[in-house]
């Protein structure tokens, strides 16, 4: 941040003028620079150019508005969600995640549940995790059931990222689901959470889950969490009937072992 406030304004004015340049490269670069300056006063000029004729410029403007994390840009950003190009809507989903206000979360939930494009829905799921907001939990739990594996997967990761009691409980419940995919995602996502609560659940999954895929994910998660207490279970898993499970147990033990050896 510049010490002299008038200099900041001079810089923003100069860069803003470049948003009208004839060369799209310059317009894109100016938008990018304004975003990285992270100054609220650049927002009106940026939103004014959201309908630039050039796709790349529009993308940079959306990214800049996300970087500035400006709530004032929200009406224009959500209005731009009608853009038929999914790349633009994906960029908006990312920006909304950075802004993270209540209204941004509402817009993201709508994208997650209603956008026709799977990438946009997946990025919406991911962005909801970044907001860390509890109000995102119910739609994310629903998205765990999504037939598109990528969306379900990112929803699980986001629930882990939100890291509240409610979201962790949702994953613990999901690991009991009759659906193999949901259990697998839950087992993987729980690996991001180092909590006393999750360790016995993952251990139980390794010991009892009928699906080798789910057992493998649970073992990988135990390896990521890296607590000594999981070693006996992992050693037992070395004699699992599936070689893929045995292999992942070897990796996990190696990972935990070398961590302790290093400390």
């Amino acid at each position: 941040m510049l010490q002299t406030p008038s200099y900041t304004q001079i810089a923003i004015n100069s860069l803003t003028k470049k948003l009208d340049d004839n060369h799209p490269e310059i317009r894109a670069k100016a938008a990018e620079t304004l975003g990285k300056l992270r100054h609220e006063t650049a927002v009106p000029a940026l939103t004014h150019h959201l309908n630039d004729s050039h796709l790349n410029v529009r993308l940079k403007i959306i990214q800049a508005l996300g970087e500035i994390r400006s709530e004032t840009a929200l009406p224009q950003l959500t209005a731009t969600l009608t853009d038929p190009n999914p790349t633009i809507r994906t960029a908006i989903a990312e920006a909304l995640g950075q802004i993270g206000s209540d209204r941004a979360i509402l817009a993201l939930i709508e994208l997650l549940t209603q956008d026709p494009d799977p990438t946009v829905r997946a990025i919406a799921a991911q962005s909801l995790g970044k907001t860390g907001s509890e109000s995102a939990i119910p739609p994310l739990i629903n998205a765990l059931n999504h037939q598109d594996n990528k969306i379900a997967h990112l929803a699980g990761q986001s629930l882990a990222q939100i890291h509240s009691e409610k979201s962790i409980n949702a994953l613990i419940q999901a690991i009991e689901s009759p659906d193999e995919q949901i259990r697998s995602i839950a087992a993987e996502s729980l690996g991001q959470i180092t909590s006393e609560q999750t360790l016995p659940i993952l251990i139980k999954t390794v010991q009892q889950d009928p699906s080798p895929q789910v057992r493998t994910k649970a073992i990988e998660s135990l390896g990521n969490i890296g607590l000594e207490a999981s070693i006996p279970t992992l050693i037992k898993a070395l004699s699992d009937e599936k070689d893929s499970v045995r292999l992942s147990a070897t990796d996990a033990i190696g990972k935990i072992g070398s961590q302790y050896a290093l400390n």
């Binding site: 941040m1 510049l2 010490q3 002299t4 200099y7 900041t8 001079i10 810089a11 004015n13 100069s14 860069l15 003028k17 470049k18 060369h23 490269e25 310059i26 670069k29 100016a30 620079t33 990285k36 300056l37």
Partner: protein
């Protein structure tokens, strides 16, 4: 970087002038150097140059420079206390160089000040860089060798380099994209050939 504030000002002025240089490559480098120096006093000038600049590459560099200066953490934006160095420059007019090897104190007649010294050499380097561009590593090496040859035959150049020392190289090398280490070879050549 711990430049004496007086020298810092000189360097800033030298680079600022290069923002108006007819050669776009020079303007680009000037913007990059100003960005690296991180002094916010050049912001208005950079912005003015951005308004007037027609070359796309130079505009990119100016924007990067504005960003680099703006996003510096406040404490490191300006160097506060100059650090003492091996070459103890007592006053701009007289330069005392204490060589660690022989312990003998050599006094060299110096040009009026570091800025003049820099300018005098920069003119020469600018002429050379017209013939020998410094875009690639190989070209930089050729350019550096040419300067080296020039130093061997030009006693004025030698005395300025020896007097200005490493601080002078820090001014000269960055705009040309030449690493300081390469410039140090010039200094060594100058010292080897001094009369």
């Amino acid at each position: 970087m711990a430049l004496n504030p007086e020298y810092l000002q000189i360097v800033l002025e030298t680079f600022s002038k290069r923002l108006k240089h007819p050669n776009a490559q020079m303007r680009r480098k000037a913007a990059q150097c100003l960005g690296n120096m991180g002094s916010e006093s050049v912001i208005p000038l950079l912005c003015q140059s951005l308004d007037e600049e027609s070359d796309i590459d130079v505009q990119f560099c100016i924007m990067d420079a504005i960003l680099a200066i703006s996003n510096l953490p406040p404490s490191s934006a300006m160097p506060e206390t100059p650090q003492s160095s091996k070459y103890n420059i007592v006053q701009p007019q007289t330069v005392q160089i204490i060589e660690q090897g022989d312990g003998i104190i050599h006094n060299y007649a110096a040009p009026q000040n570091l800025a003049e010294a820099a300018q005098e050499i920069q003119q020469l380097l600018a002429q050379l860089s017209q013939t020998y561009p410094t875009n690639t590593e190989a070209e930089k090496q050729i350019f550096s060798d040419q300067v080296d040859t020039e130093i061997q035959t030009n006693s004025r150049l030698r005395s300025i380099l020896i007097a200005g020392g490493i601080e002078l190289l820090k001014i000269l090398c960055p705009p040309l994209g030449i690493p300081i280490e390469m410039g140090q070879k010039w200094l060594e050549t100058a010292q080897k050939n001094r009369t």
